[in-house]
């Protein structure tokens, strides 16, 4: 721990906007991921509230059928691709380098490009609302409904092209973080000494890298069908809708583990700190995570039991799916083992982490009920499925991400979030969440299909739906409490200590918020829970506050415009694909200009010295 406080070197001055646009600092990029993803989360949440308001009573007329279809499609797409994934990316960005004791990610500029491609892609998807043509074919865009013949508007073009853009961002980030974690660890940090969150991040990147190309190809073919008149998914031309389903779910199931593994990682960091006890069964945690991911590639057809794949295929996918409960169970039990015998302090991050376990179990168990293929014939495409995936996505991913937010907030912003408001946030979430989604199990089993913009009276759905709607608004209230908490902390003093919770990992060894170069001296690691080990070695509970240092002599990569330029070029290229319908001239001027801009940007980028505009120390 370098504590020598030197004079600050004169900082290189740029306007704030330019600074953030051109930054390659993983921490700033992380914050931008978080901020934009939270905005998208609010948008997705507001869509959900409108959905719930429409369904509060039978024969609801708040929105039209068309509007409703756009809402649930965009709600699902937004929450998955624009909220949970980038919220996880926020933590990857900000914390993976810190947790492995690195100064930055392997490719800082590529990282900036991922961010901007993601943000532009998200804006592009949502811009569809301005044309009254938001995607309306469901978040898995089943063909042939998504083909030009049955979806003549621009709606599904926005979807297919938007997801391709987002896919590029994800794959680029996947390469970057995989490399970072494999190759940028501090000295002494072997793979089996990495914090579990880093492990889960690594596994998540593997899933991203191996599953996104598959949906990319599916989307390319869909776009070709829609734009160039090919017949990949047009049955009249011999196309087979089953191929779409297979390709989508070969991606889609690993995708749900992309959404949950980072959450597992966060919880595995939070529980030990607030129980003052190391993670139970570290290596079992690592291997179960890897095993879940591995199995995750072999179960995709459990989304297709109703297609009548045949008894052999059904049996195989049933069994493979059930098997995932075993490694997941290992995780759950090891978490309980972690708190067992500990000294549990129920701070907000801990509450959310424990809430996560409690809720995820429910979602997992309903998942196992789905995996029983014949039973799924009654469950699939009903609200029972909707209940399942909100328990794992909201009760799972969002709860854990919230735990992470409370846990790491002081490190990110140098400010504490308020504990009292945090507890309100937690209890309102917990209640609102269960009131919203628990009745969905029942209404689903009682026969309510999903994706219906309204339902008739007389089927017994009315009361359940009303209760769910009330719950959703309680949930919204809890989010408002969180937002209020954030605003309050913003106004308050930036006085968070470096190590407010008695943390186990390296990020707590440096000032809150960290300086640009993270570590004045690259740390050397000798054990798991490196920071705990250091404190133990020094025989202290807390170290004294680390001072700020000048960073003289540390060279960080300089800011660059080219990532933004490439991202904009990429966006233009794809936007250009939207507006034309001919194979003879496949590319519009917009596409060509975008492509040219991209190539230009790539070349400038390639020849720009890494520290061209770096601050002069």
């Amino acid at each position: 721990m370098a504590t020598t406080a030197l004079e600050h070197a004169p900082a290189y001055q740029r306007s704030t906007i330019v600074e953030w646009l051109t930054t390659v600092d993983h921490k700033k990029i992380g914050i931008m991921y978080g901020a934009s993803a939270f905005i998208f989360f609010l948008i997705g949440g507001i869509e959900a509230l409108i959905i719930r308001a429409q369904l509060a009573t039978p024969n609801g007329t708040l929105v039209s059928a068309e509007m409703y279809n756009q809402l649930f499609t965009m709600h699902g797409t937004t929450m998955i691709f624009l909220a949970v994934m980038p919220l996880s990316a926020m933590f990857f960005n900000f914390f993976v380098p810190l947790l492995i004791g690195a100064r930055d990610v392997a490719f800082p500029r590529l990282n900036a490009m991922s961010l901007w491609v993601f943000i532009l892609g998200g804006i592009f998807l949502n811009a569809s609302f301005l044309f009254a043509a938001a995607p309306n074919g469901g978040w898995f865009g089943y063909a042939p409904l998504s083909s030009r013949q049955y979806s003549p508007g621009m709606n599904m073009d926005f979807w297919a092209i938007g997801l391709q853009i987002l896919g590029i961002a994800s794959i680029a980030a996947g390469v970057n973080f995989f490399t970072t974690i494999i190759n940028m660890r501090a000295r002494g940090m072997t793979l089996m000494r990495m914090p579990i969150f880093v492990w889960m991040t690594l596994i998540t990147q593997v899933l991203v890298l191996l599953s996104f190309p598959v949906i990319t190809i599916a989307l390319v073919m869909l776009t070709a069908d829609r734009t160039f008149g090919s017949g990949f998914f047009v049955t009249a031309a011999g196309g087979d809708p089953m191929l779409w389903q297979h390709l989508f779910w070969v991606f889609g199931h690993p995708e749900v583990y992309i959404l949950i593994l980072p959450a597992f990682g966060i919880v595995s960091e939070v529980l030990p700190v607030f129980s003052r006890k190391p993670l139970f069964g570290y290596s079992a945690m690592v291997f179960s995570g890897a095993f879940i991911a591995f199995l995750g590639f072999g179960v995709w057809s459990h989304h297709m039991f109703a297609t009548g794949m045949g008894p052999l295929a059904d049996s195989f996918f049933s069994l493979a799916t059930m098997l995932i409960a075993v490694p997941t169970g290992v995780k759950i039990f090891n978490w309980i083992g972690t708190v067992w015998g500990g000294s549990i302090s129920l701070k907000t991050p801990m509450l959310f982490a424990l809430g996560f376990i409690a809720m995820f179990i429910i979602g997992g168990l309903s998942g196992v009920m789905h995996s029983v293929a014949p039973a799924d014939l009654q469950q699939t495409d009903t609200y029972f499925v909707v209940a399942h995936f909100h328990y794992v996505l909201f009760g799972g991913s969002i709860f854990a991400l919230t735990a992470g937010a409370y846990y790491w907030w002081p490190k990110m912003f140098g400010r504490m979030l308020d504990e009292g408001l945090g507890k309100w946030h937690f209890w309102l979430s917990m209640i609102g969440f269960n009131v919203t989604f628990m009745p969905m199990h029942w209404v689903g089993l009682l026969g309510m299909p999903r994706r219906v913009y309204t339902y008739p009276e007389g089927l017994g759905f009315d009361l359940f739906n009303m209760v769910q709607t009330v719950g959703a608004f309680i949930l919204a209230l809890s989010i408002l409490v969180f937002m209020w908490n954030v605003i309050r902390s913003w106004r308050g003093p930036a006085d968070a200590p470096a190590d407010p919770w008695g943390g186990a990992t390296l990020e707590w060894s440096i000032p809150s918020p960290p300086q640009e170069f993270n570590f004045a001296e690259e740390p050397v690691v000798a054990e798991k829970d490196a920071f705990w080990a250091m404190k133990d070695a020094a025989g202290v509970d807390r170290f004294p506050e680390p001072g700020h240092v000048s960073g003289r002599g540390i060279h960080m990569p300089g800011p660059s415009w080219w990532p933004v330029v490439v991202a904009v070029g990429l966006l233009m290229f794809f936007v250009g694909l939207m507006v034309h319908r001919s194979w003879a001239f496949p590319f519009t001027p917009v596409s060509i200009a975008g492509f040219a801009l991209m190539v230009f940007g790539v070349f400038k980028w390639a020849y720009e010295p890494v520290d061209a505009h770096a601050p002069q120390h």
Partner: protein
């Protein structure tokens, strides 16, 4: 801290309790939930229900044990002032093996009945429980209505499927446009319906009654309103219904023999545009029998309606004859519409008022359907309704 600990201890048990109570509520009174999967009235649904309940009970046990353990740990090991640092345990191979094996064993108890049921439900039984050959029904999904064809009798009907109780029904299904899924929760699970492959499903209704069902694969704008009914009848009633259908030609006359009929292949499907118009309205009132007026023989409106049915091009899409109909008709077969329970994809009660509204303003009721508005005056619509009421 006060705020925190108390609810923690109380909340999950309460949640659990309401889980169970709601579950019981769902189980006890089936009549309130006509679309329920929990009250099987068919053999397929019963088999599924059995394996499902097995998993429910096992899951409930797992739930109680694991959540209980979690809550107990939180309560038991909550931090106390001046706690010493807890013992630093890094794991235990024995315990970990135990809690890897136990779930695997539990899953074996789920897996065995699962596989059994998969194979038991996979193929259509060769014979009904009573020994009869299964009744073949061809199901055709349309955006957004169902066509049912009985090859054995050469008859066709729509949205309301009649089956004899106790006789296995062998469904062969296909779609003319996008994917749909056929589902009647009380008697059988769902199966997707594809435009390019025939899928199969079967069931035997074990009780008489009316079982509602729905399309459950998202199929576009009006997916929500693609419901159907299964009328499970005694064999005698069913035979009478078939006889009635076979009599249709005498009742309907030349206009509806099916010649010159438009099929989906011959029209341009530009009507499914995603940017549909106004919000659909719900029915004004629940139907009573009185609102579905019985036809009065000799009513002049009947003849007028018959003429209008041809003149207004209704006959182009709809047939009033259920015998030997061409496949893939654009509009639902209207033989029997006079007494059908529901209209408009199974969600508007078939009252005179609703029928009239539908005929005059189909796009208001169900925006986006292939049936456009056909500028009918009030009187003309009444006449058509009166005529359609003769189709029983």
């Amino acid at each position: 801290m006060r705020l925190v600990r108390a609810p923690w201890r109380r909340f999950l048990p309460v949640g659990l309790l309401s889980f169970v109570l709601l579950g019981l509520a769902g189980c006890t009174d089936g009549s309130k939930y006509p679309q329920s999967t929990l009250h099987p009235k068919g053999d397929f649904a019963a088999m599924v229900d059995e394996v499902f309940m097995t998993t429910v009970w096992l899951a409930l046990i797992v739930f109680i044990v694991v959540e209980g353990g979690l809550l107990w740990a939180i309560w038991r090991f909550r931090a106390k002032p001046n706690d010493a640092r807890p013992k630093q345990i890094h794991g235990s191979t024995v315990v970990e093996i135990i809690w890897t094996v136990i779930p695997a064993v539990v899953l074996a108890f789920v897996a065995v009945p699962t596989i059994k049921t998969i194979f038991a439900t996979a193929n259509v039984p060769a014979a009904s429980p009573g020994g009869e050959a299964p009744l073949k029904v061809e199901v055709v999904g349309h955006q957004w209505w169902w066509e049912f064809r009985y090859p054995e009798y050469g008859i066709t009907t729509a949205n309301q499927m009649h089956v004899p109780v106790g006789r296995t029904v062998d469904l062969r299904m296909k779609s003319v446009d996008v994917l749909h899924a056929f589902w009647i929760p009380q008697v059988t699970g769902k199966r997707d319906v594809f435009p390019n492959r025939e899928t199969r499903l079967w069931f035997t209704a074990l009780e008489t009654g009316e079982f509602p069902g729905a399309c459950t694969e998202f199929c576009g704008l009006q997916h929500a309103r693609m419901d159907l009914y299964v009328m499970s009848q005694t064999p005698e009633e069913f035979a009478a219904w078939v006889a009635l259908r076979k009599r249709d030609p005498e009742m309907s006359g030349a206009a509806s023999t099916g010649t010159g009929h438009v099929t989906v292949d011959t029209i341009v499907r530009d009507t499914m545009s995603g940017t549909a118009v106004a919000a659909a309205r719900g029915p004004d009132a629940l139907p009573t029998d009185a609102e579905q007026a019985a036809p009065v023989p000799g009513d002049p409106r009947i003849a007028e309606g018959k003429a209008l049915f041809t003149k207004k091009a209704c006959a182009g899409c709809h047939s009033l004859n259920s015998i030997d109909q061409p496949k893939r008709s654009v509009g639902p077969n209207l033989a029997g519409i006079g007494v059908r329970k529901m209209i408009a994809g199974g969600w508007l009660p078939n009252t005179d008022l609703n029928l009239k509204r539908w005929i005059m303003h189909p796009q208001d009721v169900k925006p986006g359907v292939a049936m456009k508005g056909y500028t009918l005056s009030d009187a003309e619509a009444d006449a058509i309704v009166a005529y359609l009421r003769t189709k029983r």
